[in-house]
Amino acid sequence: MIELQNISFAVDSDSQEKEILRDVSLSIGDGKLVVITGPNGGGKSTLARMIAGVEKPSSGRILFNGEDITNLSITERAKKGIGFAFQQPVRFKGIQVLDLLRIAAGKPLSVGDACNYLAQVGLCARDYIGREVNASLSGGELKRIEIATVLAKASSLSVFDEPEAGIDLWSFQNLIEVFEGMRRNIQGSSILIISHQERILSIADEIVVLKDGRVTASGPREEILPTLIGTQAAVRECRKNVVKKDEVGVC
C-alpha cells in the first residue's frame, strides 16, 4: 500500500518557480493495478519518479505500508519493495543482460531463470542473455529488457513509466500478460502504470487523471474510462505514433 499525501513539486525554470505537481494525494492498495493518465506535461512521469525516490517532493509525504519514506533514498526504497521501469531505459557499456537481471533479482539467478524473464517480455533468451546493454540494442529491445529487470526484482509495488512506448513490434496483449502474471506471481503485488493507451487503461482497477499537476479525476475504471474515450488521456493503439503532444486524439 502506497499513499501520497499532498505532494507538491516545483522546479526553477528561467529563475521562475514552475509547479509540476500541486497538492497531489492518492493511494494504491495491495493487489491493485492503477493507471495514471492525462495529457503530456501533466506531471505523470514526475509522480512516478517521486515514488521511486529519483525526485523528492517540495512538500507532502509518501507512506509505504504505513512507513514514511519521503526522505528515504532510491536504494532504501528499492530494498523496501519498490520497483521502477524507466520510460527511457539506460544503456551500459560492458554490463550484460544477465548481469543486470542478476543485480535486479538481488540473489544468485540461474541462466534458466534469467531466460524465463526474457521470454516473458518476448525476447528469445539465448540471443540476448550475453548481450551488452549498450547502443547495439534497439530502443524496443532495451525497453523489454527494462521491463524484465522489474520482473526479476519482484517488487511489492512496481511502477512502469510508459511501458508501451517503443515496443511497437510486440503486441499489447503480451505486455498485458506480463502485468497479469506479476499480479498472480507476487503476493499482494500492486502495479502503477503511467500510460495513456486505452488498452492499458482497460485493464486498470483504478484510473487517476493528472492534468497540469493536479488530480482531476480518480476512481474505478468503469467510472473513469468512459469519460476519457476520445481524448488524449485514452489514445488507441492505432494512433499512438501520430498523436501530437497537444492534439486531442480521436481514432
Partner: protein, 308 residues
C-alpha cells in the same frame, strides 16, 4: 624446479591466471632470475647472451600452442631492462601470455622495463595477453614501462589484450606496429589508475600494405588524482583501414588526455578516430539504485562492466 613463495604465486595468478606450472612452453622470471623454463618440440625458448632476455622461436605451422613468460618481482629496489624477441613462423597459430606483477613492500622503487619484439610470419596468427599488476604496502613505487614492437608480414593477424587494473604507480607504454599487405592488428587496452598514479600509452601503427587493417581500442578509468594520456597514431601508407578509440571514465580529480593522430599518405587509406571522456552518467547510477544497489555499489558495477 620452481621455487616460488606465496607472494610470487599470488602475483603469477594475477598476471597470468597461473595456479600451477603452465602447459606448453614457458619461462617464469622471478627477481631477475629464471625460476623455470621449458621449450617444446615447436617452441624454443633460449636466453639471450648479450642482454637480459629471451629469444622465443615458434616453428612455422605450429597450431594451438601457448607460451607463458610471466615476470614477478618481490624484491624492493630492483630495476631491470629485459628484451624478449618472438619469431613466429609462417602459418603458426599461437597464444602468448606475458605480464608482470610487482609486490613492493620496501622503500625503494621497483621497476621492470620489458621490450617485446614480435616478428610475425606470413599468415601467422598471434593472440597476445599482457597483464600488469602491483601490490605491497611499501613507499617505493611500482614502475612498469613496456615497449612493444610488432612487425607483421602479409596476411598475418595479431590480437593484443593489454590490461592494467591495479597497483602500478607509473607506466609508460609504447607500442609500434608495421603491417604488410592484408595484415590485421587488433588491440584492446583496459586501464584503471587510482591514487596519484600516472599512465602514458603511446601507439604508432603504420599500415604499409594494401588491405592492412588496425583497430586500437582503449577503455580506461582514472580515479582519485591519477593521470592518463592516450596517444594513438595511425599512419596509412596504402589502401588500408584503421580505427582508434579512447573511451574513458573520469572520477574524483582524475585527468585524461586523449590525443588523436591520423596520417593518411594514400588516397585510399580510411582512418577513423573516436574519443569520449566523461564521468559516469547519473541515470546509470540511478537505474542500478532502483534495483537496490547503493550509489557506491552502482559505481563499482558500472566500472567493472566497462573494464570487463
Amino acid at each position: 624446479m620452481l621455487k616460488l613463495d606465496e607472494i610470487q604465486k599470488r602475483l603469477l595468478m594475477e598476471v597470468a591466471d597461473l595456479h600451477k606450472v603452465p602447459e606448453g612452453a614457458y619461462n617464469i622470471r622471478s627477481n631477475s632470475q629464471s625460476a623455470g623454463r621449458q621449450s617444446t618440440a615447436n617452441i624454443e625458448i633460449t636466453p639471450k647472451t648479450d642482454v637480459s632476455g629471451l629469444d622465443i622461436r615458434i616453428k612455422p605451422g605450429t597450431k594451438n600452442e601457448s607460451v607463458h613468460i610471466p615476470v614477478v618481482m618481490t624484491q624492493s629496489g630492483l630495476t631491470e631492462l629485459v628484451y624478449n624477441d618472438f619469431y613466429i613462423g609462417e602459418g603458426a597459430d599461437v597464444t602468448i601470455v606475458a605480464g608482470c606483477g610487482i609486490d613492493n613492500c620496501g622503500p625503494k622503487d621497483s621497476e621492470h622495463d620489458g621490450i617485446h619484439r614480435f616478428y610475425v610470419g606470413k599468415g601467422a596468427k598471434v593472440r597476445y595477453v599482457e597483464k600488469h599488476y602491483g601490490s605491497g604496502s611499501g613507499t617505493g613505487k611500482r614502475i612498469l614501462n613496456p615497449g612493444t614492437e610488432v612487425y607483421q608480414e602479409e596476411d598475418s593477424s595479431v590480437e593484443m589484450e593489454m590490461v592494467q587494473i591495479k597497483g602500478v604507480d607509473d607506466t609508460e607504454r609504447t607500442t609500434t606496429a608495421e603491417l604488410a599487405a592484408g595484415a590485421k592488428l587488433v588491440v584492446r587496452e583496459r586501464l584503471m589508475t587510482h591514487g596519484s598514479q600516472r599512465a602514458i600509452s603511446t601507439y604508432v601503427v603504420s599500415l604499409n600494405g594494401e588491405g592492412a587493417s588496425a583497430d586500437v581500442v582503449s577503455r580506461s578509468v582514472a580515479r582519485d588524482d591519477s593521470y592518463q594520456k592516450f596517444d594513438a597514431k595511425l599512419v596509412g601508407n596504402a589502401a588500408c583501414s584503421g580505427h582508434t578509440e579512447c573511451d574513458s571514465i573520469i572520477m574524483d580529480r582524475g585527468r585524461i588526455l586523449a590525443v588523436p593522430g591520423l596520417e593518411a599518405n594514400d588516397v585510399d587509406a580510411a582512418l577513423v578516430h573516436e574519443a569520449a571522456i566523461g564521468k559516469i552518467a547519473g541515470d546509470q547510477i540511478i537505474k542500478l539504485m532502483t534495483l537496490g544497489l547503493t550509489e557506491q555499489e552502482a559505481e563499482e558495477q558500472i566500472i567493472n562492466g566497462f573494464l570487463k
